[in-house]
Subunit: 287 residues, 4 copies
């Protein structure tokens, strides 16, 4: 899928310097350091890369990922070897598929960098086909995901962040008004610590369904008139504060076998203010 375009022939027409004979080049990163400070992280961030992500049905989806990769740096080393991160990433980009578990990915990182601690985050919009509630229309909708892994003292901690749009309708506004009730788009953000032994029971697709259950109403990419009526009435009959959505989401996440701990945050783009209302909850996340 990637084309190989080599800019070198063109560039070499310009006054490019020739490589001098001073090779081998010194490994400056490998110089000793005397400050006695072990760094928590040294690495790269903001690396854009096309990657393949495993879908629920076993096939994969190509995503445009933004990646952070780092390792801990011992006190006696001056710097890390940043190009090795991109070498690994480029190799995975050429055909390997990432699961929700980045275990093997981070183990490979630690090996390549000869490191005992490491961190990786792979963040991307993931598209899930969503059906309209009444008519038969459907279209892909993006949810924003990030898979993370942390290696520390021999233990790997796996995480998953998930941000999706939902709707909330204000119970107070509904109760005190003669007619109508203010409603708005809201962002539902889940931060999950994963239990690797049960990770096969979890999918990005199912997380969208859970989020939609906790909302006043889901949002949809494609709605015909009969759908819009359904959505409007469902919002109105299902009024929820951000606090309610967080609590309902917590109840839903508690019983997921793959979720070892989680935080939930809902942020509503209030239609009556130019600022947002939010609520958050956290459970077994640091355990």
């Amino acid at each position: 899928m990637m084309v190989t375009t080599s800019p070198k022939p063109v560039l070499s027409e310009l006054k490019a310097p020739t490589l001098s004979a001073q090779l081998p080049l010194e490994d400056v990163q490998g110089r000793p350091d005397s400050r006695g400070i072990a760094l928590k992280e040294a690495g790269v961030c903001g690396v854009k890369m096309p990657l393949q992500i495993r879908q629920k049905d076993g096939t994969s989806q190509q995503v445009a990922a933004t990646v952070t990769m780092s390792v801990g740096l011992p006190p006696q080393e001056k710097g890390t070897h940043m190009s090795r991160f991109v070498v690994q990433l480029a190799q995975w980009s050429r055909g390997k598929v990432l699961n929700l578990s980045l275990k093997s990915f981070i183990e490979e990182m630690a090996n390549r960098l000869d490191a005992t601690s490491a961190y990786v985050s792979v963040s991307f919009p993931f598209f899930i086909d969503k059906k309209a509630p009444v008519t038969d229309g459907s279209a892909p909708m993006a949810v924003h995901c990030a898979l993370t892994a942390q290696l520390e003292q021999g233990t790997i901690t796996l995480g998953l962040q998930y941000k999706m749009a939902i709707a909330t309708l204000c119970p107070c506004s509904k109760a005190i008004s003669e007619y109508g009730a203010h409603n708005q788009r809201a962002e539902l953000m889940m931060n999950l610590r994963l239990d690797e032994s049960a990770i096969d029971t979890l999918s990005l697709e199912d997380l969208m369904i859970l989020g939609d259950q906790a909302a006043s109403c889901p949002v949809f990419p494609l709605l015909k008139r009969a759908d819009e009526k359904w959505v409007t009435e469902r919002q109105y009959t299902n009024a929820k504060f951000v606090e309610d959505v967080v609590r309902d989401m917590a109840l839903l996440l508690r019983v997921q076998p793959a979720v070892a701990g989680f935080s939930v945050r809902v942020e509503a783009l209030e239609s009556i203010h130019d600022h947002n209302a939010f609520a958050s909850y956290e459970e077994r996340l640091q355990a």
Copy 2:
């Protein structure tokens, strides 16, 4: 209001290079260029600067501005002198007040840079105190403004961009549903070409009132329960598509003596979708 902290004493303790004797330093920007291409703009952007903006009542408001300043560059000149822009900006930052008209500001730019064409944009959040509709609460609310000026062939064109939050409630959703109607925060964006001779009749404060008139309902920084009831019911009784808001805003702007031309764009953060609905209109903007 600005403190003067000189980092130099501290820095000179480090291994700072001493200035060599090769002064005067060559003006590389002043070298001739043979490509025969006159540039439309050469300048600086993303310059953060505290500035004073004239308010309706004659006093000024300090704002945190982001500034773009540029001049046209004749074909025979290699580069422009970028530091002169910041010298001017820093001087204005120390006590001068900007009006809605940047005429004298851009004339000074053209003089300093010895240029015949120039462009400036001063962009900032501007705070306007906004009263709740029923109770006596009030609080500042930010609207995002940008003042612009363009000098070309001896003529100065003055502009004002204005972005504020409003609410829209969907007439279709209201008409087809048993109860409720989807509503949402929306962004109202006005781009005005100003008639300098009437510029005193215009204020950032009045533009907020015009925008609120065109909306299904204004948004507010502070609402008590009685206000929330008012807002909910006003939204519901005043359903408007983005198309309606744009048309009503156009009618309001047409009769402003200071507005020589304008475009309006409304973008609604639909509470039923994860994307936005928008409409736009343009009148006498290029004249």
Copy 3:
């Protein structure tokens, strides 16, 4: 590639409203409007959608696009039918490939919406494999592209925006300093008006090569030590102001048969300032 997950079964367990018998539902958008204002645009923006983009070698690349679609609205119509845009987009998402020309896409839009003017913008990160200059390493690098089309009075205007990272090294800093010269990442932004008859001579891959030629030096996703030496020395021997890059890029674009008009802007993230330096040029863009 898209999985089909229907949230409806889950949601219907909740207190969902049943559809009332009042169908057919009124077409509120079709109501007459008496304000006499024809809108320039009414549509959707911020629609995220996976799409296939034609590559130089004839294969396609899946991208995560952000789409704007709109039509002009006659004065007598109250609103447009926003869902039709997403219906078309979802259909294209399921297997059709977009060329650099959106001609057939915008013609389909105008037909579906029964409109005489229309606008579409499809914006996405596009990955191109980029080889290191000395070693044999290579990795995908993202450039940000937007394809646009505008239909007005029977004429379709095709556009292409292209933003890529390059490096610039300051000629002034080099000339006046004993050693070293400040350099930085810069953003090269091209806005092209396309000549459809020659559009096959243009590719996103070739545009990256052109941009790299105009820079002090290209940037790369993956560099080993020998590459870093090459890049450092090439930057230093090829000092360019933003003004120089814009002029060189203009010379390169002028001779492209598919480019009917263009603007170029280069913005350098100056390593000596917290603001950017920029230059811009425009040629035959409004013709």
Copy 4:
């Protein structure tokens, strides 16, 4: 400084609903909740507000702040009273000055909301006048600050986040190249836990000086030619990896009496890549 513009008179000309006689309006937030879930946070975020921040010299600087305010919510309460946050904020906006310690601010929050846990973050660009290194030019430069306070189980934890631009020059590039060395703008991010008993020894102005000491070279808002020579040569003679900057910053922060714990992160906008290099360190932050 704030003008009071009441939009009500204008709006009431439109078809505004009249307040019905059903007052007093029910306090829906006060309804009981049976899910048994205590929320970590319920509040508002993204609130824009002009505030006064204490400067080193005892005067205050008006800033355009973005504020988050929340309280913990006991399991038996359905929702919090969001308007009380904005009431407090608007009062502080009218003349009260915030110190680096938000102790009294968060105590007031807890009282107003009748809460035992609370959180506040006040984020803003802060302008500090910065002198050129050689000539006598100077101009304000923005650093991004956030003051935070957290109340939990009777204890208040004070924090300060600080983000400023610096420059780094790569030691590896310098060592292996015949001439030149790649350099770039970088972001230095400090996250400080404050010791309130020594907070008077700390100022935002001094933090900028510390950051400049840790850099390869400071960045400046205004540089004449002699300054640019100084900066170029200082960068070159003071090559530092992001790892070096983090370590040097750690050494500088360790000896600050007001800093009870900290993390440092440096992110360099590499001029040879389209991604960033970063390093981070953490000390006594969770203590």
